[in-house]
């Protein structure tokens, strides 16, 4: 059981002429919170997609819990919390129904929930403190609650690796603190949490380690060193050693 939760080796992904990821290699250990930092277009989303098997790598391999992505998906190992912008919040589903979709991979052909599925969904909602809002339409939640509803879906799924795309975008300070505490607790309980974020402020409290991406891994280590101004300047296109100020 020594396989890392996520192991990426020599990963290169191109979209036509554009190289989104070049020779990315990194390992994320189990039961850790890893922050993925980089500008828009730095390849954060592409890395998530590669872990989920949504893009085909041009080179390199991805393993989740020691398994190729397709097998990891079928065993429900990969939980995904989407960006707010990619969700249709007017969709006529309740919070409880959305959380239940996390169980679908474990259900029969018609996805008819059994007692165990209902129990798992209820426990997941309880875990993220949304049990009393299970009957609400998914869009009738606050920004922070919406994020937690999708975390609950990944928990109902019993995913060992949780991928969160910009979980702090558009939520207030208190929800951010709640989310940070929740993710820390999930890691303490053995789940691996990978968070892509612009919110550098939240990272030291949240993460065990951080990865700085700019279509390649610029730095990977403890958050304090990765988030050092000199390192960040590299990622955001400002070379501190350069003579001229960057544009």
């Amino acid at each position: 059981m020594s396989a890392p939760a996520v192991a990426v080796a020599g990963l290169t992904v191109r979209y036509g002429e554009v190289t989104a990821l070049s020779e990315v290699s990194l390992e994320i250990g189990a039961a850790r919170v890893c922050g993925l930092v980089g500008m828009n277009g730095s390849g954060k989303s592409t890395l998530f997609k590669a872990v989920m098997g949504l893009v085909r790598p041009d080179r390199g391999t991805v393993l989740v819990g020691g398994e190729p992505p397709a097998r990891a998906r079928r065993s429900g190992a990969v939980g995904y919390v989407p960006q707010s912008e990619s969700v249709d919040w007017t969709f006529p589903l309740s919070v409880g129904e959305v959380v239940m979709t996390g169980r679908y991979g474990r259900m029969g052909w018609t996805r008819r929930p059994r007692a165990a599925d209902r129990a798992a969904a209820a426990a997941a909602l309880e875990r993220v403190e949304l049990a009393d809002l299970a009957g609400r339409q998914i869009g009738a939640l606050s920004g922070g609650q919406r994020k937690r509803a999708f975390v609950a879906r990944a928990l109902a799924q019993d995913a060992s690796v949780l991928l969160l795309d910009e979980p702090f975008a558009g939520i207030d300070k208190r929800s951010e603190a709640t989310m940070t505490r929740l993710l820390r607790e999930l890691a303490a309980a053995g789940r691996t949490v990978v968070v892509s974020t612009h919110e550098l402020r939240a990272l030291p409290r949240l993460c065990d380690e951080a990865v700085l991406l700019k279509n390649a891994v610029l730095a990977h280590g403890d958050p304090a060193s990765v988030l050092h101004p000199d390192t960040l300047a590299l990622a955001f296109g400002l070379d501190p050693l350069a003579e001229e100020p960057a544009a």
């Binding site: 989407p82 006529p92 979709t101 018609t110 339409q137």
Partner: protein
């Protein structure tokens, strides 16, 4: 005329009974499918597939194959062609859809014009409810039942596909296969409905009930009840009206659905125009709304 005469007298004709059965089945199957189509944003795709089946149906008629087979082949061919044109990069999706389905529809029109038995095939365009005989009725009933059963058995997967295809992928399902299933069922549904209202108006039955139901509830499971119920009421009302007013039956059914949608759009408690903007609606409509 007494209510009895209005409602029962038409049913003394066997052709009216068959017409009623076909309209009801077509309306209900289309309405259930429409719930997914309006939520995914596939109204234009519904329009495209329902028109694009025309050459398939004509060719099936020519070689004596089942209409459903021809429709299915051309429905899926249309979807594949749309995908090819769109993924070429330069042409946007709506232009790709518009180009492909109108071309296939035109091919269907040309085929109809060269096939000897012209009057028969023009019914595909406008529907021919009152000319339904037992073989057509059986075909509609069987196809309708199969389509409805698959839709309802796979409803949870299809809803997940509509809401969050990435999650469907992440838990090991195949969004591509679910999308293909929905499009295949769309082609079959078109065959069910073209007898009732014709290829041109099928798209109305594939959009209006779902759109109206979506205005009435925030629960997908309730949409799946409201949409077919509304469509069934409109089907019966439209058919009776067409009988008594001696008007086009397919046209009347769709007109009834459009009117029902209008009422829902105005009066829906939560999402209706009146509920949302009572004062503005009052200015636009001189009648008292009881407020």
């Amino acid at each position: 005329m007494s209510p009895f005469e209005l409602l029962i007298a038409p049913l003394e004709y066997p052709f009216m009974l068959r017409a009623l059965a076909v309209t009801l089945v077509a309306a209900v199957v289309c309405a259930v499918l429409s719930c997914w189509l309006v939520l995914i944003g596939w109204s234009l795709m519904g329009d495209a597939v329902s028109h694009a089946v025309l050459p398939g149906v004509v060719l099936a008629y020519l070689v004596g194959a089942p209409f459903a087979l021809g429709a299915l082949v051309f429905g899926l061919l249309a979807v594949a062609l749309i995908g090819v044109v769109r993924d070429g990069g330069r042409v946007k999706e709506d232009a790709a859809i518009g180009t492909v389905f109108t071309t296939l529809f035109a091919l269907g029109l040309v085929l109809i014009s060269v096939v000897p038995s012209q009057t028969d095939l023009s019914h595909i365009l406008f529907g021919n409810l009152l000319g339904v005989y037992t073989p057509e009725l059986v075909q509609v009933l069987v196809l309708g039942a199969v389509t409805l059963a698959v839709l309802l058995l796979k409803r949870r997967d299809l809803t997940l596909y509509a809401f969050d295809p990435v999650q469907a992928h992440a838990i090991g399902l195949s969004p591509r296969r679910l999308g293909a299933l929905l499009l295949g069922l769309l082609a079959l549904t078109t065959v069910v409905a073209l007898q009732a209202v014709g290829v041109i108006l099928v798209v109305a039955m594939l959009i209006i009930p779902g759109a109206a139901a979506y205005l009435l509830t925030d629960r997908f499971s309730r949409m799946l009840v409201i949409a077919p119920a509304l469509a069934a009421v409109c089907a019966v009302a439209g058919l009776y009206l067409s009988y008594h007013l001696n008007t086009s039956s397919g046209g009347m059914v769709v007109l009834a659905q459009g009117t029902a949608f209008g009422l829902v759009y105005l009066l829906s408690p939560r999402h209706g125009l009146v509920g949302a903007r009572l004062s503005r609606a009052r200015r636009g409509r001189p009648v008292s709304l009881g407020a």
